[in-house]
């Protein structure tokens, strides 16, 4: 495996994980807002 291939692989892995974390953060913020505003479902 060449260094360029390894760079692309690592960038792709990191981008995927970052996307997952950002998605999780958005969901978490949503539920924090619900909890803080005291809304009951």
């Amino acid at each position: 495996m060449r260094q360029e291939d390894e760079i692309v692989r690592r960038q792709r892995d990191r981008a995927r994980i970052m996307a997952l974390l950002l998605g999780a953060f958005v969901v978490l913020l949503f539920f924090i807002t619900i909890a803080k505003t005291g809304m009951n479902w």
Partner: protein, 302 residues
């Protein structure tokens, strides 16, 4: 896996596994556990998502501390067998990335804690990060054999922060949880430092066995175990915990003191003959998990 033709591994973007390793996940597990116990032992229970976020913030802050610690100690880590394979000394990651990651993660955890729970918890979280990085890692650790004693305060913050995140205030039991971990840290780390003394000596870190020798360290382990046991049992006579906790705390601390006494009686200087020290180190981890678990169980059952 095929070999990679690399001229400079640190020039590559860091692998996510190395970024994760930077946060010291094993240390984080103990931090998360004690914080969770602090939160669960508190008299007020926040909504699940806020409790979850508080624990998440404490875990992220612990990860930030791990990253900043490894950033600062990269050269020292390279000199010790136990730490030489970490991402920075092994050259798999550059130092600046570790610094940016640690600062970013720490700042993020503080702001999120403040927004989700309360700003007293966020302030304590900020204080714990600054204490660990500046007071312990930068100032005390390379300068004094008492580094573990005062530095232990950094590891004692999580249950206090968990409690404050739930209640918004500091109370007697939360302070006792802080004191228990504060007094538990020296015997725990000194037991370890006895049988990895050569590593610390090679790195020039003035751990107690390196500076004062084996006998003094063993005596200090036993002496610190006594107030630790008193603090651990105290919630029961003070009426802050029930009989279940009291009995379990007495048994757990009795075993701890017996093992500490065995360490005191051991005269070995060779790591291979330090079974009592290894037993005490292993037991000290179990001890903390068990004591805090019993506290929560006692609180919820009573």
């Amino acid at each position: 896996m095929p070999a990679i033709e690399m001229t400079n591994p640190a020039a590559l973007p860091a692998d996510w596994r190395d970024i994760l390793a930077l946060t010291k996940p094993r240390v984080m597990s103990l931090v998360v556990f004690t914080a969770l116990c602090g939160l669960l032992a508190a008299p007020a229970m926040p909504p699940f998502v806020l409790g979850f976020t508080a624990i998440l913030c404490i875990a992220l802050a612990a990860g930030a501390c791990g990253a900043l610690n490894q950033w600062y100690e990269a050269d020292l880590d390279g000199k010790m067998r136990r730490t030489a394979k970490r991402p920075l000394p092994a050259g798999r990651m550059d130092r600046q990335s570790a610094l940016h990651f640690g600062v970013g993660l720490g700042g993020f955890s503080i702001v999120l804690m403040g927004l989700a729970t309360n700003w007293l918890a966020a302030t304590l979280l900020a204080a714990s990060i600054l204490f660990y990085v500046l007071i312990y890692t930068v100032w005390l650790k390379p300068r004094t054999p008492q580094n573990i004693v005062i530095g232990g305060a950094a590891g004692a913050f999580p249950p206090l922060i968990g409690w404050v995140a739930a209640t918004g205030e500091v109370s007697t039991l939360s302070l006792l949880l802080f004191v228990i971990i504060f007094l538990w840290t020296p015997p725990h780390f000194w037991a370890l430092s006895l049988f990895v003394r050569s590593d610390y000596a090679a790195a020039g870190i003035p751990m107690l066995p390196v500076v004062k020798g084996f006998a003094v360290t063993r005596r200090q382990i036993f002496l610190y175990s006594l107030p630790m046991a008193a603090a651990a049992i105290a919630p029961w006579p003070l009426g802050l915990a029930g009989l279940t906790y009291g009995i379990c705390a007495i048994v757990l601390n009795f075993v701890f003191l017996v093992l500490a006494a065995r360490v005191l009686a051991n005269g070995a200087t060779d790591a291979d003959q330090m079974e009592p020290e290894k037993h005490l180190f292993a037991y000290s981890v179990f001890y903390l998990f068990a004591l805090f678990t019993v506290l929560v169980v006692d609180r919820w059952v009573a």
